[in-house]
């Protein structure tokens, strides 16, 4: 199967006063049609920057994006401003983390949805409004016609996120970049939004890149997972394999730090944390980037960057342990 999105050797750099920050450093990944791919990692590992690089929304502060991002047969990085503008919201759209701040307070919900429709579909104002109301209906907002005329402050967080999903889906995009779409919501609302996204994805045959640090959300929605650490992919696996048999020590640490209801404290298995924090992008450790925090560090980890080991067709791990521990 041919992927619809292929990212290879993506480097996104920010030139700051303190030096060059490599937010994404040599990232490779693929997204296939109709799948939900999870992109997991701690805060600051480059997940969001990856998504923003795809749509080139990183104009401020000036970012330098290198590598290849192919959407089907179009190299997105080679497009001019107008070219990428036509892609945004139309073939690739984005859902943001904060539904409270991602809708403009001075425009009505309907205006904001129909704006996206009018931008890309070339329909009349009335037609776009009608479609906007239909979209609100599709994301299961009650009384869509009345809600369309309201300003965002009258809607709850869950409603607003539904409205954001309506905007993202309004032009039938082939790919949705969902950047922590449920993080800011209550757990019950989270479940509703997730099941809504799954249903709509199947109905519209859209692919989703689900960016999150919540492994519960990943287990629920994603079919394939890419784990990122310090701007790089450290592990990629189908979701079941990842949870059953994580190979990279970082993935193991991530899974170990998720609280499990019913796991008793007296069994001695306390919640495990990964010691330390993500290294500063200005001072990346030599060798494997995870080695200062890794419980299984061997000598070679401190000296050389580990190779990407392809375990089978669907699995890859970026670790010396899997490579046999020798360069």
């Amino acid at each position: 199967m041919k992927p619809i999105l292929t990212i290879s050797e993506l480097h996104t750099r920010f030139h700051t006063i303190d030096g060059v920050v490599n937010a994404v450093d040599g990232l490779d990944l693929e997204v296939f049609r109709g799948e939900t791919m999870g992109l997991v990692g701690e805060s600051g590992c480059g997940k969001s920057v990856t998504a923003l690089s795809i749509l080139q929304l990183l104009s401020c502060p000036p970012a330098e994006i290198q590598g290849c991002i192919f959407f089907e047969d179009t190299n997105l990085l080679a497009l001019d401003r107008e070219g990428i503008r036509k892609i945004r919201g139309n073939t690739i759209s984005m859902i943001f983390q904060e539904p409270m701040t991602s809708l403009n307070p001075v425009l009505t919900i309907g205006e904001q949805i129909s704006e996206a429709i009018r931008l890309h579909q070339g329909v009349t104002r009335q037609e776009a409004w009608k479609r906007a109301v239909e979209m609100l209906q599709m994301v299961q907002i009650p009384e869509p016609a009345a809600r369309a005329r309201e300003h965002p402050h009258k809607l709850s967080g869950g409603m607003r996120q539904r409205a954001m999903i309506a905007i993202a889906l309004s032009c039938n995009p082939q790919l949705i970049l969902a950047d922590e779409p449920t993080t800011a919501l209550d757990v019950t609302i989270q479940a509703q939004i997730m099941s809504l996204m799954v249903r709509l994805k199947e109905k519209l045959d859209t692919s989703i890149v689900l960016i999150t640090h919540d492994l519960g959300v990943i287990a629920e929605m994603a079919s394939r997972v890419v784990v990122m650490y310090a701007g790089r992919v450290v592990e990629e696996a189908p979701v079941r394999d990842l949870f059953k048999d994580p190979r990279h020590p970082y993935t193991q640490g991530l899974l170990g730090s998720v609280p499990v209801i019913g796991r008793k404290a007296e069994t001695g298995r306390r919640l495990q944390e990964i010691p330390g924090i993500v290294p500063s992008p200005l001072e990346m450790p030599i060798g494997c980037r995870f080695h200062p925090r890794c419980p299984k560090t061997i000598d070679v980890c401190r000296e050389k960057e580990p190779p990407m080991v392809h375990l089978d067709e669907h699995r890859r791990v970026n670790c010396w342990l899997e490579a046999g521990g020798s360069g």
């Binding site: 749509l55 503008r85 919201g89 984005m94 701040t101 991602s102 425009l107 931008l119 905007i167």
Partner: protein, 296 residues
């Protein structure tokens, strides 16, 4: 005369629009000074609109037989050196000054707001260029800048409006730019870009409505300044030319008779004072009412 406050609070809209407006209106009503300003402004605007009804004659027709008369029943505010009713000239003068205020603000808004938007949104070289020009203009006192522009453009209503208008442009550029810098970082602006909205639509549809509050306040305060500047130019004889009734010009020509007919200069002075005061009181009131940090 009062000194116009040139600061308008830069504040972005982070609360529900309808509720906030309602609350702001309640705050404004409780502010007595703003209420006085509003009433004065209403009288002023009505006077300007109803001038032919309030004073049926020609305010510029001289009658030398009756020059420099003290207030009487026939001429409630007396007459000037050419025997023209001062009341009539004050009434018709309100039209001229209001026209100037509106004209000046329009020039300031039309040039200043787009430049401020572009400067704040794009940043970089564009911003640098616009800001250095703004710096240069702000280096001159506003009135001096208007004065120099009149010297270049010439006298008359149109040139007065253009000159004072241009002298107000840098204030608007600075104000709008500052607000855009904070609004453009909002997620909804990024979200608008993410659906492929064009820059021009982002600027005028998404950012501009969110910086309207400080612009509104500055507009009210700026109108007071505009009237004051226009009167100043008129007083120096390089503003609106006689026989058009203009308060500053009246004040200027009346000052010669300050000892034998003090009303000729005093009354236009009071008119200017009240007009500027009304805009300033209302402007300050609007600023307090629209600023959520200021609780009354």
């Amino acid at each position: 005369m009062t000194k116009t406050t040139q600061t308008a609070v830069c504040q972005t809209q982070d609360r529900p629009v309808a509720g906030r407006l309602k609350q702001s209106w309640a705050k404004l009503r409780r502010n007595r000074a703003a209420l006085v300003g509003g009433i004065l402004l209403l009288i002023y605007v009505l006077t300007a609109l109803l001038a032919p009804v309030l004073f049926p004659g020609n305010p510029s027709a001289p009658n030398l037989m009756k020059s420099l008369e003290r207030p009487s029943l026939e001429h409630p505010l007396g007459t000037d050196e050419l025997g023209r009713s001062i009341l009539g000239r004050i009434i018709y003068g309100s039209r001229v000054s209001l026209l100037i205020a509106v004209g000046v603000i329009s020039v300031g808004l039309i040039i200043g707001v787009p430049l401020g938007l572009v400067s704040g949104y794009y940043g970089g070289k564009v911003d640098f260029g616009i800001q250095r020009v703004t710096d240069t203009m702000l280096a001159f006192p506003g009135f001096l800048l208007a004065l120099s522009l009149v010297a270049v453009l010439g006298v008359g209503l149109k040139n007065t409006v253009i000159s004072i208008g241009i002298s107000m442009v840098p204030t608007y550029i600075r104000l709008v730019r500052g607000c855009v810098l904070s609004v453009k970082e909002e997620v909804y602006v990024e979200a608008a870009r993410a659906v492929g909205t064009r820059d021009i639509a982002i600027l005028f549809r998404h950012i501009l409505p969110n910086v309207m509050v400080p612009i509104t306040v500055q507009t009210s305060l700026g109108m007071g300044t505009a009237i004051l500047f226009a009167a100043g130019l008129g007083f120096l004889g390089i503003g609106i030319q006689p026989p058009t009734p203009e308060w500053g010009t009246m004040l200027g020509s009346g000052r010669v008779y300050l000892f034998n007919a003090p009303h000729v200069a005093t009354i236009p002075g009071i008119a200017i004072f009240l007009a500027v005061l009304s805009f300033n009181l209302l402007g300050d009131g609007l600023r307090d009412a629209l600023d959520p940090r200021f609780k009354l």
